[in-house]
Structures are given as structure tokens and as C-alpha cells.
Symmetry: C2
């Protein structure tokens, strides 16, 4: 085996990725905007570790069917299994259970990576950031309504006013509908409810008729693959599709329609009461139907939700909803699993990856990395002078870098170009003799090149380099940078 | 087994921790300050995944002796081993090797968690954040000097001017010293060099005589434990201790002393030349001996360093150095291991955990979380009015929260107190009848309580609650908050 064969080929693990430069700056800016909205509502920051004991996380991922397989788990120097967190809610529950004296209601936000072993796809990674807000210790629907308000304010702050909608469903209403249809939702340990939920979760993709098929025996798709159904009878499935069609001009009207469908079911009625309360709170706070709607097709995938569930999407040009940019719900039993005591909780998570791609597409988030000014090196004899210029610029608050390495001025300017550097400082024999310095505006050159087509015109404009007294370097750089503030 | 026994006890995995509230805000503020300095020098942000193929990371951790044991590793749905990154340098090397067309020199910074299975201790966790800067593709000592400048500027920006020092050593000088002492540093594959390095790394703790013992056969500590030595002869060890004592008034003088010790060794001489170049660069840029010193006892633990190494510490009141707050060095071979081509690189990492503890101790970083104003609820009948007040405050940019839940005003104020809330808004029958609102200044109450000892004086000052017209709520809250801007 020769040396070459022993070398590892540089590669990313499956489903993971690198993010660099402008994309990352855009993400930082977006997160900062959202974080400020969270803090405006009194949410305080928390960071829990990336690694938890596996039994702290529980088994709540639904997508894979076989939950444990969806989680990265391992052992270190102790017998207990460890795992990478798959969301930020399970660690929050562990934290709250561990600190019983925490002042409640406890509003916290958390920003961090979560990990799932999923089939990777476009925009779907095995490590993804979540921006979570949760209120623990309040059973009031005001807490749920507030979560919807925070989401709306965050999207407004990102410049998406009028382009998104938060849709709200309720798990108890769904259970009530099943009970009204004659399904005993408790006898089977909730399995039928869970199956029905999974069918409804496919509403956006399959439409009402597709879901209706799935609710019964199952459904064959175009490729001939058969998906097992939830096993409802024809009559039962009809009640559920009635429910899915429930709509109205206002949130109030949707509530009335739902109340009719849940009939005598106590759970269903109290679910509708929850929605009525949320509507009242939202209306009083000025969040109307353009921002938050009630939508029975919203169920959310995770099994731990117990009441209202929320999902935010952008409204696309064809009037359809984009895939979810945020989601959440009430989970009153998640902390109880540790303590035996009911601790009501509700919250939501913004998935910034998808959101960021949309924001960049819409030009709604600044990607501008403050690219530095490049101080080029003509001759190492003047190395200390070049260095002095670089530090002068930095001390004036201007990002600047000295070209490090041996390369012709041409190559140094090519490097500047690749780096999207706005200005290059150049000084050689002439400049040092006359106590001046030259500044080349690389952006202006680019702009001219993209705006003019005639070569004669190009030549007229191509004066992108100027020479100024050495003492005016910093001043002139500031003036030039101010000319095209967006780079 | 009863229900209770089945419940998992909420607990953190060994060596991991939660960070919350003010501590986290202090960390965010510190990171933001450092990030801005990095960007001022033209470093661009990169984020690599937390999980990498294990062979991408290599085996460079020295502390454990058995490198693989220091790393969290596991498999997912593929045969190759995965691992949590143990630093940010190995992933950078993988990234650079993977993107051969990257414009070079490539200056990047990265902020992220790294993971090691170490014995946990005070301030020593298995997940820790690193703030890295590296310059890849420049063999120039200007790049190394620049890294020292960035560290100095970052610490200055954090308010530590005059309180820290960056110490610089050089691996090639050390090898030269060993060669001058007659050790064949290449014949044994570098094992003797590595052992000597490990001895020197204990200098701060053991002092010169302790290290001198370790350099030979070994050393028995007070508890009777014997530590195996590096196996040098008496004469060889003496050369090394001479080297460790090399000092001078200036960096230049240290270089002269080192030049005498390395004698005819070519590697040693070129190591000294490196330090001379770094000194010239630093001096020209205005970083004198109060900021950066040359110190032969600095070697750094990782095996991959090939030239200059840096370590920053705070200077404690007794003149000793605090444990390291930043460290790094040149690693010219790390990328070669993937590509077969030499890609010179140098960089450093700030360890923010230790630094943050020091900064908080010195009062040098703002921990003030913008604690929200609490709008209390006297009676649910006025729920919508309370809610309106809350939103009015938020829309004026004032963090505010509505108390969610059922509790007496007393309990609500106790909650406000636990949360360090500055102001509470209170409105009951009287206020609603007279179209007013009451504001209780919780900070003023606390201040008075801590400043006055006499009960009579206390009573005189205790007017911490006032009633204002409802329409003046926002205006008055802003005035009151401005009174004690630090909470």
C-alpha cells in the first residue's frame, strides 16, 4: 500500500454540511432578530448540553416509526446510554423536572442544534438548528395564544408581514371528533388517534380524498406502493373528513363548526373551548385572521402534544402553504414523566434553515459580510509599512487584512476579487517616493463591467484606482466604503 | 414495580451542564465582542458539523495518552465510525482539504462546541465552546504574529488591557535544543521530543526542579505516586533546563539566549529565526513586551504543532499566570495528511468558559439580562386590559410579560422578585375606576433595603409604588427604567 492509499479522503458524514461566509452571516442576523423578539416577551435564554442520557429524551419521534433508530446514541465511560438531543423540548422537560424551585411560569428560549438520523434530502440535514420558545407552568390558553403572537412578531420583524400565516389545530378536538364517530380513543392506548393523526399530517400533499382513503384501509400511490391505512370504517372516516372540511370566515365560525362535529364528546367540547379562549386572546391583542387561523388539518407529528398545536408557513404565490417554518403545541404530560406531577407547558420551534432559504430568496435578510479591505504587498522590503496601514485601518474600525504570502499584485487582486473585497490598497516605489498610497475600488470596477456594454464606455468609466496622500488613507477608505454601503 | 420506580430521575450526563439566564447573556456578550475583533482582521465565519467521520479527526489529543478513548464515537446507519469533534482545527483541516479551490490565504473563525471524554472537574466540562481563528495557506511568520495581535485585541476589547500576556514558544527551537543536547529527535519517530514536551507542559505546576526530575528517570510526588520520566541523561536534561531558564529584558534578548543554546542545530536556528521575525512584526505593529513575551516553557499539549505556539493567560495578583485562556500554534502538516501536499496553517483558540468566569469575577462583562416588566393580574375579569398593557409596552420596545396562571398579587410579586424583574404593573378596582395604573419599582425597594439599616429610614423611603394615568403607562415605565439602567 503506498502513502497515497493510506490518506483519508476528506468528506462530510452523511446528512451533515458546512456553512460559510455570507450564508452564515445571514443566519446570525436572522437569529439575532428572532432572539430580540423572544426577549421582548420576557423569555430568558437557556443552553442545555448537546449530549443527554438517552432515557432523558424518551421516544417521541414519529417520522421513523421506530423511534430509537432515529437517534444518534452511544456509550462513553459509563454503562448508561447517551444520545444527541433530537429536539430542545425533551431537554427542557428534563431541566424543569430537575429544578423544582424554578419560578413559574417559566418562559425560556433556546437556540441550538438537534440531531436526527433521517434520510437526507434537499434542505434536510441530520444536524439542524432550532429556535425554541416555551412557557412552562401555565395551563392558561393565554400562554398558547402568546406563543402564536411571538411567532407572528418574529416573522414580522424579519420583514414577512402579510406573507405568512400561523395555523392552529387542537389534539383534544381531534380526539373528540373520533369519539363522536364512535372510536374508543382510550381503549387502544391512543393507537387509533395516532394513526389518524399521521394520515391528517399528509393533508397538504394528498388532499382531502387521499387522506380519506388513508383513514380507511389504505392507499395505493401512482408508483404502486401501498400505504397501510388507519382502519376506520366508512362512516367513521366520513366524520373525520367532515371535521377536516370545517371552516369559516373567522376563527369564531370555525369554532362553531367544530362544536357541531364533536357533539357530546367532553374532550372535544373542552378542546373547542380552548380554541375559543385563544381566539379571544388573539383578537384582543390585535392578531386577526390574516395572521392566525384555525385549521383542523394541523395536527403536528410528535406524539407528546396534548392540546392546541401550531404551525407557521409562508403563503406561496399560488395560494398554497410553504412547508412549515415553525411549529409547536401544548405538552402537559412531558414533565410528569419524570416527576409524577402534572406541569402544563406549551411552546414552539422556529426551524431557521428552511426559513433562511426563503428569506434569502426574498432578499429579506442581510447577507453582507463586512468584507475586509485588502492591503497588498508589492515588495517585502516595505512589509512593515503595509502592516502599519493595515493596523491604521483596523484601529479606525475598518475590517482590513494584509495579504500574507508571496504572489504578484495581479494574483493578490484576483484573491481580493474571489473574496469579494471592496477596496485594495496598493503602494510601490512611486507611492513611497511621493508619500502617497493608491486605492483600487474593486466594486466600482465590477459595477461598471455589469452596467456598460460598449468597450469605449467601459474605458471611460474604468478609472477605479486613485492615489491619495498617505495621511489621507483612512479618511479616503471610509469615504469610498460609504459610497456603496452594500458592497 | 410501581409507577414511581419506572420514572427516570432527571439528571445531566457526567461532565455536562446547563447554562441559564444572566450567565448565558454574559457569554453571548463576550462572544459578540470577540467575534467583532475577528472580523476586523478579515476572518470569515465557518460552521462545520458537530459530527464527523472519526478518521477525519485523527488522533491528536495528548492528555489521555490513549487518544481514541478521549473521543465520543459511535455508528449510525453506515459502517464507518462517527465522532463528536474534539476541537475545531481538525474539521477545518478536513474542510480545506475538501475545497482545494478556496482562495488562500484563507482566514476563518469558528465558534462552536467541542467534546472530550475527560475527567470532569471545576470549570472542566465534556462539552465546551471554542472560539477559533486560523489562517490557512500562509507560511509567513506575519500570520503567526497576526494571531497574537488578534488575541491581544480581543482581550483589550473585553477590558483586560494590562491584565493578560500572550506567551510564545517554538517547537522547532525545542527540537533544536534536544539536537544540541545530542538527542536524535528523528530516529525515534519524535517520541523523545513528545515526552520532553509533556514534561515541560507541567512547568507551571512543578517548577524548574520538578521538570528537571521528570526529564530524567521520573519523579515521586508528595502522595508517593511515581511519574515516569522522559529518560534524558543528566547532561541532556541540563541543556533543556538551561533552555527553560532562557530569558531577557526583551523578546530580542530571549532570541539571542535561545540562539546560543541551539548551537549548530539547523532546525533550532530556523526556529529562532521564526521568533525573530515574529518579534519584528509585533514591534512594528506596536505590540510590546507587556503584551507578548517569548517564553521557552510554552509548548502546548497537542502533537500536531510544528513551529511557533502561543498561550494567553491572565496575570494574577501574586504575579503568577492564570490557567490558559487561549492557545494555539502553527500546524503545517495537518492538511497534508489528507492531500499529500503541504498546506501551511496557524491559529489559536479562545476558551471562553474559563475566560468568562474570570471576566464575571472582574466585573468586566455585562450580565444584565433585559428582565421584563411584569404586568400582574388582579382579576381575570380584566384579563384583556392586562394583556393590552403588556402589548403596549412590548410595542414600545420594552420587554414585558403578562403573569400567566392563578396566584395572589403577593405570589405574583414574589415571582417578579425571583425573576429580578424591575417593575410590576398593578391595576385593580381603584385603578380601573379612576383610569389609572399603579407601577411598583421592585429595584428601588431592594436598593433601599440594602442601603438603610434603620427601620424608620426604611419606612421613609419605602414609597416604591406610584399611580399614574393609564395613558401615561408606557412613558412612565420608560422613565423609571432609565433611572437605574443596570437593573
Amino acid at each position: 500500500m503506498d502513502e497515497k492509499d493510506k490518506r483519508p479522503k476528506p468528506r462530510l458524514a452523511r446528512g451533515f454540511r458546512d456553512v460559510i461566509g455570507a450564508d452564515l452571516v445571514a443566519r446570525y442576523n436572522m437569529i439575532e432578530t428572532i432572539r430580540k423578539v423572544y426577549e421582548l416577551y420576557g423569555f430568558m435564554p437557556l443552553e442545555t448540553p448537546t449530549v443527554e442520557f438517552a432515557d432523558m429524551l424518551g421516544k417521541f419521534i414519529q417520522d421513523t416509526g421506530l423511534p430509537d433508530e432515529g437517534i444518534f446514541s452511544f456509550k462513553a465511560d459509563q454503562p448508561d446510554w447517551l444520545a444527541l438531543r433530537y429536539d430542545l423540548t425533551a431537554p427542557l422537560s428534563r431541566f424543569v423536572a430537575q429544578h423544582k424551585d424554578l419560578p413559574k411560569p417559566f418562559r425560556r428560549y433556546q437556540i441550538g442544534s438537534a440531531f436526527r438520523i433521517e434520510k437526507p434530502g434537499p434542505g434536510r440535514f441530520r444536524e439542524f438548528i432550532q429556535l425554541d420558545i416555551d412557557t412552562v407552568g401555565s395551563a392558561s390558553m393565554a400562554a398558547d395564544a402568546e406563543i402564536c403572537c411571538v411567532l407572528c412578531d418574529a416573522f414580522d420583524a424579519l420583514g414577512l408581514d402579510g406573507m405568512f400565516v400561523v395555523r392552529v389545530g387542537d389534539r383534544r378536538v381531534l380526539n373528540g371528533v373520533l369519539q363522536a364517530a364512535g372510536v374508543d380513543t382510550k381503549a387502544d392506548g391512543g393507537i387509533t388517534s395516532t394513526r389518524v393523526m399521521r394520515c391528517i399530517d399528509k393533508f397538504e400533499r394528498l388532499g382531502l380524498s387521499g387522506v380519506a382513503e388513508l383513514l380507511r384501509q389504505g392507499r395505493m400511490d401512482e408508483s404502486g406502493d401501498f400505504t397501510q391505512g388507519a382502519g376506520l370504517t366508512q362512516a367513521q372516516a366520513e366524520v373525520v373528513t367532515e371535521y377536516l372540511k370545517a371552516s369559516g370566515e373567522s376563527r369564531k365560525e370555525v369554532c362553531e363548526a367544530l362544536r357541531a362535529i364533536v357533539g357530546e364528546s367532553e374532550e372535544g367540547r373542552s378542546g373547542v373551548d380552548e380554541l375559543v379562549e385563544i381566539d379571544e386572546f388573539l383578537t384582543a391583542a390585535g392578531y386577526d385572521e390574516r395572521k392566525v387561523v384555525f385549521d383542523p388539518t394541523i395536527v403536528r407529528g410528535l406524539t407528546y402534544y396534548t392540546g392546541p398545536v401550531y404551525e407557521a408557513s409562508l403563503i406561496e404565490q399560488n395560494g398554497r402553504f410553504s412547508s412549515s417554518i415553525a411549529g409547536g403545541g401544548r405538552y402537559d404530560n412531558l414533565i410528569e414523566r419524570f416527576t409524577g406531577q402534572k406541569v402544563p407547558a406549551t411552546g414552539a420551534s422556529i426551524g431557521p434553515d428552511r426559513l433562511l432559504a426563503l428569506l434569502i430568496g426574498l432578499g429579506k435578510v442581510s447577507e453582507s459580510l463586512l468584507a475586509p479591505v485588502l492591503v497588498t504587498q508589492m515588495d517585502r522590503a516595505w512589509a512593515k509599512d503595509y502592516q502599519a496601514m493595515t493596523f491604521e485601518l483596523r484601529r479606525a474600525g475598518i475590517p482590513a487584512e494584509l495579504f500574507l504570502g508571496k504572489a504578484s499584485i495581479g494574483k493578490q487582486l484576483k484573491y481580493a476579487d474571489q473574496r469579494n473585497i471592496p477596496l485594495a490598497v496598493i503602494a510601490g516605489e512611486d507611492e513611497f517616493a511621493s508619500k502617497t498610497v493608491s486605492i483600487k475600488d474593486l466594486r466600482r470596477g465590477k459595477r461598471v463591467a455589469s452596467e456598460v456594454s460598449e468597450r469605449s464606455e467601459w474605458l471611460k468609466h474604468e478609472q477605479t484606482q486613485e492615489t491619495v496622500p498617505r495621511g489621507r488613507l483612512v479618511e479616503r477608505v471610509i469615504e469610498l466604503l460609504a459610497k456603496y454601503p452594500d458592497g
